[in-house]
Symmetry: C2
Subunit: 491 residues, 2 copies
């Protein structure tokens, strides 16, 4: 992590509010300054959605949220800040005025980042006495889920400021990309702008509706781009000869007069009406808030599916998520004569079945993750597995005692029933913290194995000693009444 403990957010709209959520969920305190009298109310709804999404995104432990305060003046909001994130409206004069004020109020070591999606940092820093601390940090909506942040320095920005900002945003689970040269709109919005103009022409000329264009995107290259970008995808399309072949084959298409991008469609009332009406039809009556949740749920699912890619090593945004979770997980302590509490999870939307409850196999996922947490504590890490040994579960018994619904938080307590150099018998109890009830128990027999032969084999000295110590500690606990049951045995 970094030494940044308190951030001042200037402007609390969709982007500023997204930053507030991202900072709070990482345990950072936030003071907000926004002259809009409605700002606090509007931010509340956004933070609800962000909390809901973050609880699902991170399956392991999460930091205690930071403290949020609204401040009546810029000066109050800046008191004690380590970092300033500005997300005011996109007007150069307004932003320059703000940066001059911030510059006068905050000590020179405080970094100042602008969320502008297109203005040049050299122009933004012009009125500042300490311009070296200003940079652009341009995020993407929803800021609390989408990892990218583009970092762009101006002519007077210190390289050290860019480096400090990069480390800070990376510590928040984000993907900072430092753009080599400042240009209007940087990289992401240049690409989006090009596509947006072409899309407007297609609607204006009656080639396709808003919904058809969206379907073209999400049923084709959108699926590709969630995990690989334009160039990597084309590299594959070029076949074994790779990128040079692709350029030779498709390069000439660039000479064709395909796009109408030499010209900008005029945003007449008629075109705005057409787009607004087609967009209404496409929404099928779903409100913005409902669409926002669907978007967030799907983003979480996609990022989690990418996190499980490559045998759990992750790919792209999923690899980033794994590294972030591992950092949040940190270390574990010693054992005592009390049940282990090593795993919590919240119920994702894609864990729900047609009955409206958490589906059966997700219970075993939670139990299995709790078992993995016990094994991790015992020293079963990647090196241990690479050394040719592991633990395999050979038998499980699950009792379903209650229900869990979307968003509920589950916590697992684990008791070791028996352990020696070859065997480990665990009893997990899953509580639903949201409803205050026990929802399931799991009894599991694991064997220590030699992976090559696939047969049980005694653990080495160190592992055996840890297994025995854990069994000894837990031997003082009462054996749960439900241990040792057959399916359907009378209570």
């Amino acid at each position: 992590m970094t030494d940044i403990r308190k951030v001042t957010v200037v402007g609390g709209g969709v982007i500023g509010g997204g930053w507030v959520a991202r900072f709070l969920q990482n345990g950072i305190d936030v003071d907000v300054y926004d002259p809009d009298p409605e700002a606090e109310r509007k931010l509340g709804g956004l933070l609800d959605n962000a909390r809901r999404a973050f609880a699902r995104l991170i399956e392991g432990p999460k930091p205690a949220p930071g403290r949020l305060r609204f401040r009546a003046s810029l000066e109050e909001a800046l008191a004690g800040a380590d970092f300033v994130q500005e997300s005011a409206p996109e007007r150069l004069d307004l932003k320059q005025r703000l940066f001059a004020q911030i510059d006068a109020l905050a000590p020179p070591h405080v970094l100042v980042a602008s969320s502008t999606s297109g203005l040049l940092p050299t122009e933004l820093q012009a009125p500042m006495a300490h311009p070296e601390r200003l940079l652009v940090a341009h995020p993407f909506n929803p800021v609390y889920l989408v990892p990218l942040v583009e970092l762009v320095g101006g002519q007077k920005t210190a390289l050290q400021a860019v480096e400090r900002a990069r480390a800070f945003y990376a510590s928040l689970g984000m993907k900072p990309i430092v753009i080599a040269k400042e240009i209007d709109a940087f990289v992401g919005d240049r690409l989006l702008e090009a596509l947006w103009r072409e899309a407007l022409w297609l609607v204006k000329d009656g080639i396709a509706t808003v919904e058809e264009i969206d379907d073209v995107i999400r049923y084709s290259f959108g699926l590709r781009w969630a995990q690989m970008g334009l160039f990597q995808v084309y590299r594959i399309a070029g076949g074994e000869a790779g990128m040079r072949h692709f350029m030779a084959q498709f390069g000439p298409c660039l000479q064709w007069p395909w796009t109408k991008l030499t010209d900008v469609p005029e945003l007449t009332d008629e075109l705005v009406d057409t787009i607004a009406e087609q967009s209404d039809a496409q929404a099928r009556g779903l409100s913005i808030r409902e669409l926002e949740r669907i978007r967030d749920d799907n983003l979480v699912s996609i990022m989690r599916s990418l996190a499980r890619s490559q045998k759990g090593a992750g790919w792209g945004a999923g690899e980033l998520l794994n590294a972030y979770e591992a950092r949040l997980r940190g270390g574990e302590g010693d054992t005592k004569a009390e049940p282990l509490r090593l795993h919590r999870a919240s119920v994702s939307p894609d864990w729900i079945d047609y009955n409206g409850h958490m589906t059966e196999f997700r219970y075993l996922q939670v139990l299995g993750d709790a078992t993995d947490a016990v094994l991790f504590k015992l020293g079963l890490d990647k090196d241990y597995v690479a050394g040719g040994h592991s633990f395999y579960t050979v038998e499980s018994h699950i009792r379903h005692l209650g229900q869990a619904r979307e968003g509920d938080v589950l916590a697992v307590e684990t008791q070791v029933l028996a352990a020696d150099a070859k065997r480990l018998k665990l009893f997990h109890t899953i509580s639903n913290e949201t409803t205050g009830t026990v929802v399931a128990t799991g009894e599991h027999l694991l064997l220590h194995v030699d992976a090559a032969s696939g047969r049980a084999a005694p653990a080495g000295e160190a592992m055996a000693a840890r297994l025995e110590a854990l069994a000894r500690d837990h031997g003082a606990l009462a054996v749960p009444a439900a241990a040792g049951r057959r399916v359907g045995e009378p209570v």
Copy 2:
């Protein structure tokens, strides 16, 4: 399904080969004509990857694959064809010559579709005596996974031909979008072309590398576009005021001189070298075949995660996938005095754990899906659940007896141990068909419940009769020795 049983594929490269895979996996016979003497060898590798991906994409039953034949002449390849898919190189004169030949050889009722990514159907059909049967059906790579196909008719194309083609491609699990007016490059490639040109400028001007541009895409809007398109995403960004507000707020940006798209970068040797070298660096030594598999694995994961979205109803490409699987599943027959065989699944890459085997909870997923298949056969459908009743699993016992690796095919046999109006006790056996071994068994007790009270309640007459008939049929079978075990009980 449609009445199309045999397709002739003309041109068996990356796109033609992708079509071959898509047709074969839907049980359609394919005759290929490609004058390249290397075509058959090249297609083999592509089909291996496609089979691997399709086995993972579809969790339920799959059709028996169609028969593939290479033919030495266009005439032989066209014999008996119901449909022709042309994927020859992108040269108008070459394609026109081909369509004149196909037109002379194939009876007039045979539909002819071109995979061209930019040529106009009106020009392609010019030399044909039966131009009404020609249309463009433009797919996206990899054709065996990406659902979109753009359908574009020319001036002489019959509306009926477009409709027949639409139904055919939809039956293959694809998303056909009919483009209202023919324009060069249609819709998808217009959008891609706009973005591609801008990306080339960014590399040429040294603003960002190939890898940085790809990261900008896949860590931001690529994640959004896998599930919602450009307009829907902006609708949400506009907040409660929706699209009109977004246009009012961001429309003016279109007047800014942001993009350099008024001009086309010249593909000098220097630019091609820069891109090829940056692309090599980005690939980190992964071969095209390895990247292709990573891409396919991720596409499968993303589509499957979207299929589980919205409480299993699915969203976008996932909703489409659910409908396709339901169609492939079809109906089930009556019960007999033999175990039920209602569920098969193949082991996806994201089912594998750090030991290199299928992870624990996926066994319960396979068992739960098999239970769902039994319940579906008993008449538990959406209407039944909507009527306020369902079955809940209350207790499970799993034995792990073997392993499954990536790509293995699992098949479940189910025996009903007991059933009455309130209870159903099942015993599933999961076999690994790839290794010919039993890998797990599951014993499960389910209760018929009133969903409102969450308590056991007797099933209605019809359901109770079906439960009892199934129990009676299976009463003739021997009880499995492993039924009724405790965890760790001696064998």
